[in-house]
Subunit: 783 residues, 2 copies
Amino acid sequence: MEDVYKLVEAEPANMEGPEEEEDDPECNNLHQPLLKRNRTLSSSPLAIVGAKVSYIESLDYEINENDLFKQDWRSRSRVQVLQYIFLKWLLAFLVGLLTGGIATLINLSVENITGYKLLAVVRYIEQERYLMGFLYMAGANFLLTLVAAVLVVCFAPTAAGPGIPEIKAYLNGVDTPNMFGATTLFVKIIGSIGAVSAGLDLGKEGPLVHIGSCIASLLGQGGPDNYRIRWRWLRYFNNDRDRRDLITCGSSGVCAAFRAPVGGVLFALEEVATWWRSALLWRTFFSTAVVVMVLRAVMEYCKSGNCGLFGKGGLIMFDVSGVSVRYHVVDIIPGAVIGVLGGLLGSLYNYVLHQVLKVYNVINKKGKLHKLLLSLSVSIFTSVCLYGLPFLAKCRPCDSSLADSSCPTNGREGNFKQFNCPNGYYNDLATLLLTTNDDAVRNIFSINTSSEFNVFSLVVFFALYCILGLITFGIAVPSGLFLPIILMGSAYGRLLGLAMGPYTNIDQGLYAVLGAASLMAGSMRMTVSLCVIFLELTNNLLLLPITMLVLLISKTVGDCFNPSIYEIILELKGLPFLDAHPEAWMRNITVGELAVKPAVVTLNGIEKVRNIVEVLKNTTHNGFPVVDSGVTPPTGSPNGATELHGLILRAHLILALKKKWFQQERRRTEEWEVREKFTSIDLAERGATIEEVTVTKDEMEMYVDLHPLTNTTPYTVVESISVAKAMVLFRQVGLRHMLILPKYQAAGVSPVVGILTRQDLIAHNILSAFPHLERSKGNKKGH
Amino acid sequence: MEDVYKLVEAEPANMEGPEEEEDDPECNNLHQPLLKRNRTLSSSPLAIVGAKVSYIESLDYEINENDLFKQDWRSRSRVQVLQYIFLKWLLAFLVGLLTGGIATLINLSVENITGYKLLAVVRYIEQERYLMGFLYMAGANFLLTLVAAVLVVCFAPTAAGPGIPEIKAYLNGVDTPNMFGATTLFVKIIGSIGAVSAGLDLGKEGPLVHIGSCIASLLGQGGPDNYRIRWRWLRYFNNDRDRRDLITCGSSGVCAAFRAPVGGVLFALEEVATWWRSALLWRTFFSTAVVVMVLRAVMEYCKSGNCGLFGKGGLIMFDVSGVSVRYHVVDIIPGAVIGVLGGLLGSLYNYVLHQVLKVYNVINKKGKLHKLLLSLSVSIFTSVCLYGLPFLAKCRPCDSSLADSSCPTNGREGNFKQFNCPNGYYNDLATLLLTTNDDAVRNIFSINTSSEFNVFSLVVFFALYCILGLITFGIAVPSGLFLPIILMGSAYGRLLGLAMGPYTNIDQGLYAVLGAASLMAGSMRMTVSLCVIFLELTNNLLLLPITMLVLLISKTVGDCFNPSIYEIILELKGLPFLDAHPEAWMRNITVGELAVKPAVVTLNGIEKVRNIVEVLKNTTHNGFPVVDSGVTPPTGSPNGATELHGLILRAHLILALKKKWFQQERRRTEEWEVREKFTSIDLAERGATIEEVTVTKDEMEMYVDLHPLTNTTPYTVVESISVAKAMVLFRQVGLRHMLILPKYQAAGVSPVVGILTRQDLIAHNILSAFPHLERSKGNKKGH
């Protein structure tokens, strides 16, 4: 988890920096206290986590309407526009196709690897060579975990975990570095196969979401960073906005894990995305449709036995559609009980997992070897438990009504595993433990099997998966949270079903399904998407009302205690995620109070090269207001008049320096000059630093006309607006910088009071600078 | 449809009015041409429709952060906050409960009325008294239509039609008058029962959405306008924001028509709502869950036969889950064909319906009698066709494999109606026509009945419903569009199935389902919600991939030709709906060009009563910027400094006059003075007019301190921002007024350049003022 913590960063590129503004010395008395406050503002997350930090950038979701962009926009022909639209759809199709293909590959590999592993183990057990069986299983699991962990630790630390919080942050406007590269994608695929095959208590849903997003990002930029196809058609996608849309399509990859297309779309909508448009809904839906079609086609093909063990056992879907599930109005009461318990357990799980992750963080920070050792210890512990615990269970006689072929079984699937029992007997704990996670879920969800599992086995299963679920999530392999929670939840649900047996007519399998749903809602706090995913998993619409009830109750209960698990992880990682709801106390503070007035560094419309170089070298700001002084406004007195021209990005200043966009005299340039010098592709480039630029001494005295490169239409707020409203604007419109204008209109007043960035609007940062707001915080959130 | 057109209004209360600003006479040279432009801007929709107009207000979704609000906010105790949250959920629950109850009532009434009517008709036919049968049926239909139409025409003209476009506009921020009253609700319920029972070609989904929204609105404001419960707890709901949220919950009422809870939520999300929050998703889901539970409970109860004919025939759900539907990869081709045809037919339907509605408008404008006559003629025409056409069909022998009791039948339900045929024969056209619309859909969706309907009958059915679908929608009764389109689509789908029979292995019933889906997508342009609704209707998840494919294709094809039917109706009604996507040419014009600089009427922070009265009498503006002059800014020269204090609403100015918030001298008031004079409930009141206010001559010379009533945190834009970006801000944040600030900073420059309102940002209005933008319009939308 080290990678997690090194991401914490105060976004220095955007903050109102501690620099002196040279041309305003008379303000220095005001400067000092404000500056101090400001410093606290932007460095606070650093102080909490205390790890070495890397560089988090914000994303430019705002359209940068400078002169060049407008020309480019106007010059787009109808054909190019159609190309663009066509390409959008093509990319969405490719995202779906590739995600579907990779999901198939993962499933195929996992099923085959686990299948042959388990078959070999079963053979040893049949020969009563128990130790050999254990060694074989533990060894195989150890090796598979080793592969996954080594890949993750050495090549792509960001591939660890589910990746969903980072994607959520990306769509909110936070660019976590190395999240969507080709290496990450590769490691995530192989690592996921290894980790799931190793029998670890983790799922492939989170990784599939991440994989979908990686594919989307890579396709959008035309390939991995080093070997990009610079296809002319792709140039319109060279911006954060279109990338965001594509990644939203990719983030519905959860549908591939559950074959739940509508659920996948809703998951992307409810949990992952920050902005949402109707057109995007449609395109995401298209992607998931393609994914599901690919999966269906492959499964059709594999029915004939061409895919090894794939399709023989754990398919992706837990199909309980064949049986009729019955319940009545009185069953609302057990439903409510499940919901309340699920909410309690879910929030408890969130709390304990939070603590475990903090401990893991300390271990992981010690280095790569520690990370590896932690992962491998978890793997060995898992193997010991999975293999050893079934020996504690008593052998149970097969029900005589069952055919001999279905009880007991020794193959990969089946509800009644023989394990160490004599013929005619089965071991119910082995049925649950010595199998793939998918099969375990199917077994525990199975209906009309009320006498199959005894209380002892279920208690052991539940306890084991509680422990595994807590210790497995933080290790350095790709892991999803859905399956561990489903396993835990189904066990507690089934236990509850056993306990309530005499008083209800809900089947125990249904109890297990509802238990899983309630724990998910209690931990992840999703409702609509979970409901639809369960609907699609169980293929039974009649379950809908009771599932809804359970989900609503457990989410409500869980919300009383702590935030959702993804929010906890986001906070742990220190990602500056902007919440949808401003806190109540944000109405009591204005942006003017947040902004440090003298600290904003403005540039003139036609600026000396020397000044630009100095500003770029001495500040880490990422956007600079451009102001023309000495202009004549249409009304009012012309004395001391200044004009706000807009906002220029650091990247564009560096571009101007690199391209030597210099002139001897102070003059406005013509349109054709700009067009000759810059293309819209140049403007889309990011990542150049001031250190790469060399400027001669003569050039230092020349001038740069910043007007054509300036975004003339930045979003602004007046200094008297409340932070709550500014935050709503910032998030809703998807900004990176927001200019603060003065509420005063007079000669000599600076036309820009400050710049707000994401970091300035994070509740935690404001509170650490203005602690008096804390006491009025109360419980008023959510209004 | 007269009611539709009289709503067209240029929102005079908000527009930049043609008033002279007295204290700025030197600007008059600038004033004239700009004013003219401005007049064009806000009066254009009027010119198009040319009817007499009523008053459309915008809604105040922005939080009005004035001093009083802030005090009220701060003084809310924790208990009050919990009350508020509890009440939100309670109201969502009640919305669901009442919507479910009313949906049940409508279904029950419709099933019983139609059922007994049809049974009587069948009895006449058995006795071969065909004329009597016709007279009975036509007479009953006539009376039912008469009831519905008289109620609508005389009491609640806004209850005509589906109501969905108006709700869409409401959630976008446009307040259509009389949309959510108690009378409208009552007329909608009774009218819907009458119109559906009368056998007209219309559904109850649209009305149910409207009914849900009415209930939500009435609950939120504590009852009908005249008899409101002024419960103290409800006072926090006395604002447009919370009402909007509640109405969003109510707008998922479509779930009641199809028993499709997830589909209902998605419909509200995809089609109706403009803003969406995760919390709202959850609450809407809760409401739909309650609706569905109520429906299920009633249906369970009615199974024992306590509800008359309800539950015997057309239930709400078209359950095809029992049968296994099969299709293969090659069936993508017929799926694509259905999709393309559905898109073409859907857009053709939209086009023709548009023309029909225009003609109807001319007729409806002539008066109430014309409206009534139109409705009644359609009713008679429908009766003639439904009763007469089956005589044209040949009697067909029953399949010998069927039991005698199922073919032919004479009861209400059944796939093989005897009608005028001898025993052992059935009339396939009568099966489709002499039944409720719900039953007709179930019959045509039925599976494994490939030989039941012959081509002639299907062609007649299709042609008839095309005509009925076009002529019925515009009449003055509550009507939904879903069912007519489903009927048309299923007929064409089934025809296609017959034609393709030899080349495909898709069942004809499935073809009918896909045809209905494709026509819906082709006309309404929804995707995800439609898909889920069909999923829930057919209760068969295996249909998902092919349904998705068909929907995607037909929406794409339809989008090539015209906008969705709801958008067409919105435009016809002249509702100023703000689109999600700015047009491409909006990037080429700035808000400064839109705003007429001298036309904005500003008030001083402490203003003379006379001035306020004059401004209120002479302008129709709804918001006035409040500016303090002669202030001393912290930096810059104090000469000629002005300060933008905020924006005050007309309602609050009137309130200040009504409450005699006057003082002899020009001074700022203290907080306690304000608190004594005004409560937050006063501030929430709307609708008072300046005519109600009486001010004595002495009082005219006194002063009002506007500061405490002013919203100090209005959203602002700089005059150089493009209209595209301003529109995104306006829509995303949900504004009513947006202040335009000058980009210049100098003494004497007005701190406010103008105010933008919804009307100023409507593409059509801008284009009529700036025709040169039209040519650059092109096809670039959707970027």
